[in-house]
């Protein structure tokens, strides 16, 4: 699979990474190289293989429906670059 600049731009947009125009081509080349390399997996027939989910079969652990956490809003916003009255503050969003 060869990745072109358009695909890099699209992935960068999805990943919210500002990529300068002059980096698109080198990144496309790098990504193409890596993807060409991983494509050797296509040599394997995995039609009847289940994807791996856990090392040993185990039951998903469940918590009880009890309130055991929260009520520390100051701690939640403590590291925020911008906060006000315990809200996180971000640039204006238009819906």
């Amino acid at each position: 699979m060869s990745v072109d600049e358009k695909a890099v731009r699209r992935a960068a947009r999805l990943a919210r990474l500002a990529v300068p125009e002059d980096r698109l081509a080198p990144l496309a080349a790098e990504l193409s190289g890596i993807l060409a390399w991983v494509e050797q997996l296509n040599e394997l027939d995995t039609q009847n293989v289940e994807p791996m989910t856990s090392v040993r079969p185990m039951r998903l652990y469940r918590r009880a429906d009890v309130v055991t956490d929260g009520f520390y809003a100051e701690d939640i916003v403590k590291n925020a670059p911008r906060s006000e009255d315990n809200f996180f503050v971000v640039p204006k969003v238009v819906e």
């Binding site: 990745v3 695909a7 890099v8 699209r10 992935a11 960068a12 999805l14 990943a15 919210r16 990474l17 500002a18 990529v19 990144l27 790098e30 990504l31 190289g33 890596i34 993807l35 390399w37 991983v38 494509e39 050797q40 997996l41 296509n42 040599e43 394997l44 995995t46 293989v49 289940e50 994807p51 791996m52 856990s54 090392v55 040993r56 185990m58 998903l60 652990y61 918590r63 520390y72 701690d75 916003v77 403590k78 590291n79 925020a80 670059p81 911008r82 996180f88 971000v90 640039p91 204006k92 969003v93």
Partner: protein, 491 residues
């Protein structure tokens, strides 16, 4: 240098219990060594004051005849573990200044056992790397050099700071994390021991996530036994981690003395890789001989899907990382590049906050998960994992553990491999299969390269059978009789 820091962790533990020295003395000696060793750039944050306070508390407990299994022992913590009130960066600019209000389960268990915190150790950014060169805080440096050549070498990665600190005797042990070899490969190239336990053995809660289905914490220390002592305290079921396993934690230390008599050690033929230096193969042969001499039976086994492990890894790990790293968006913590437009704020924050390798992996991960590609890449890779796990399962019907090299080369020079991602990725060729299958693997110092650099061997075990690794690892360690230490060029 104070001789105190030359001890193994086990020796320090005995000395503290016998009150031959205090924890305060150990912590002070450790802090002094750390300060002297700044050229190694092993620590991102040093915490001598916290260490002094913890050591004083340990001394008080020891004086009362109390104390946990690690009471008074100075340790370093990979900066991927969240530590309450202490900057936790994952080696990234994007988390610079972040002080968690919580403590990771693994580090909390260490403190509960009495260990003393010396600081936060350097690492590849978000643990993505095999040389510690992707750290925003600059590369950590291997204490080892090629003979008289003063070129700076990498300490391996991603737990490069942990490896450098332990190898340079700055602390008695360190935490590491291992997603594709990040404990074992640096351990091997710095002449220390390190174990990646079975996936689920240690809680991941509070460890900055790289690739959730592969990440596992483990100890790094100067001896196999020291690793065993540390792992016993780090491991255990955690109801806060749905992937942690509810199994009793065995006495790993006791397993170190069990020997290998009657054990069947498998040698996977697919691990003989073209282009790997002859000295790596020679060391492997030597390891086989040592285990044989100690009474193990050697059997040749086949792990036919080995060559697909790295490609599968370089789909799964970036895919999961691309999602795990989405939370670093300038809203809740860490770096924000201000902009009136929300999307630009996101894009500029993340472009400025993440380094090149991290961005590369986020892009790959985003690409392979995007519409139309999921089945071809991520699902395919997860299926290949099943095949790789199946290889091991079949092999373990014929043997009890596998012996392989730990790293395809000794430590290389800083900057030597940074231009070609795939050649860098190949450093994990021996280790990554273990992560994909979720199995435990230990790296043990075993020899010296022609340039005078350490080389390691790896043992791979059945799921949740770390004990066999400690038994066989101890035998290798003893047989190697390794006493060499790096010259203290930094002091």
């Amino acid at each position: 240098m104070s001789d105190l820091m030359k001890m193994t962790l086990a020796e320090a533990r005995e000395g503290l219990r016998a009150r031959r020295f205090s924890s305060a003395e150990l912590a002070a000696a450790s802090a002094a060594e750390i300060a002297k060793a700044r050229p190694l750039n092993a620590f991102i944050v040093e915490t001598p004051e916290i260490a002094a306070a913890m050591a004083a508390a340990s001394d008080a407990r020891l004086a009362r005849g109390e104390g946990g299994a690690l009471e008074g022992i100075p340790l370093g913590i990979k900066d991927l573990f969240c530590t309450k009130g202490i900057q936790t960066t994952a080696g990234s600019h994007i988390l610079e200044g972040f002080k968690p209000v919580y403590e990771s389960t693994v580090t909390q268990k260490l403190w509960d056992a009495g260990a003393v915190m010396m600081g936060k150790l350097n690492l590849d950014e978000f643990a993505m790397g095999s040389s510690n060169e992707t750290s925003y805080f600059g590369p950590a440096v291997n204490p080892w050099r090629r003979g008289n050549d003063d070129a700076k070498l990498v300490p391996g990665g991603s737990s490069g700071g942990s490896a450098a600190a332990v190898a340079a005797e700055l602390c008695f042990g360190a935490t590491g994390t291992d997603t594709g070899g990040s404990i074992r490969q640096p351990a091997a190239v710095t002449c220390i021991a390190g174990i990646k336990p079975t996936y689920g053995r240690c809680s991941r809660w509070g460890i900055v996530a790289f690739a959730s289905s592969l990440d596992q914490a483990g100890p790094m220390a100067r001896t196999v036994k020291d690793c065993a002592i540390l792992l016993r305290e780090m491991a255990g079921f955690d109801p806060k981690d749905s992937t942690s396993v509810d199994l009793a934690v065995p006495d790993f230390e006791a397993a170190c003395n069990a020997g290998v008599k009657g054990l069947r050690i498998g040698v996977p033929k697919e691990y003989r890789i073209d282009g790997v230096p002859a000295e790596i193969d020679a060391l492997w042969e030597q390891g086989i001989a040592w285990l044989k001499e100690a009474g193990a039976e050697i059997v040749e086994v086949s792990l036919p899907h080995t060559k697909y492990a790295l490609p599968a890894y370089y789909i799964v790990a970036p895919a999961e990382a691309s999602s795990n790293l989405a939370r670093y968006d300038g809203v809740k913590y860490g770096l924000r590049v201000e902009n009136d437009d929300l999307t630009r704020m996101y894009e500029q924050t993340r472009a400025a906050g993440f380094g090149r390798e991290v961005q590369r992996r986020i892009l790959i991960g985003t690409y392979v998960l995007s519409a139309g590609y999921y089945d071809a890449y991520y699902l395919k890779a997860q299926k290949v994992r099943t095949l790789i796990a199946g290889d091991f399962k079949a092999a373990f019907e014929k043997c009890d553990a596998l012996l392989t090299p730990a790293s395809p080369s000794p430590a290389f020079g800083i900057g030597e491999k940074t231009n070609d991602p795939i050649s860098m990725y190949l450093n994990d060729v021996y280790t990554v299969t273990v992560n994909l299958a979720g199995l435990p693997g230990i790296a043990v110092p075993a020899g010296i390269s022609k340039d005078g650099l350490p080389l390691g061997l790896q043992l791979i075990g059945r799921a949740f059978d770390e004990e066999t690794l400690f038994s066989a690892g101890s035998v290798l360690e003893k047989a190697a009789g390794f006493t060499g230490k790096p010259g203290r060029w930094w002091a």
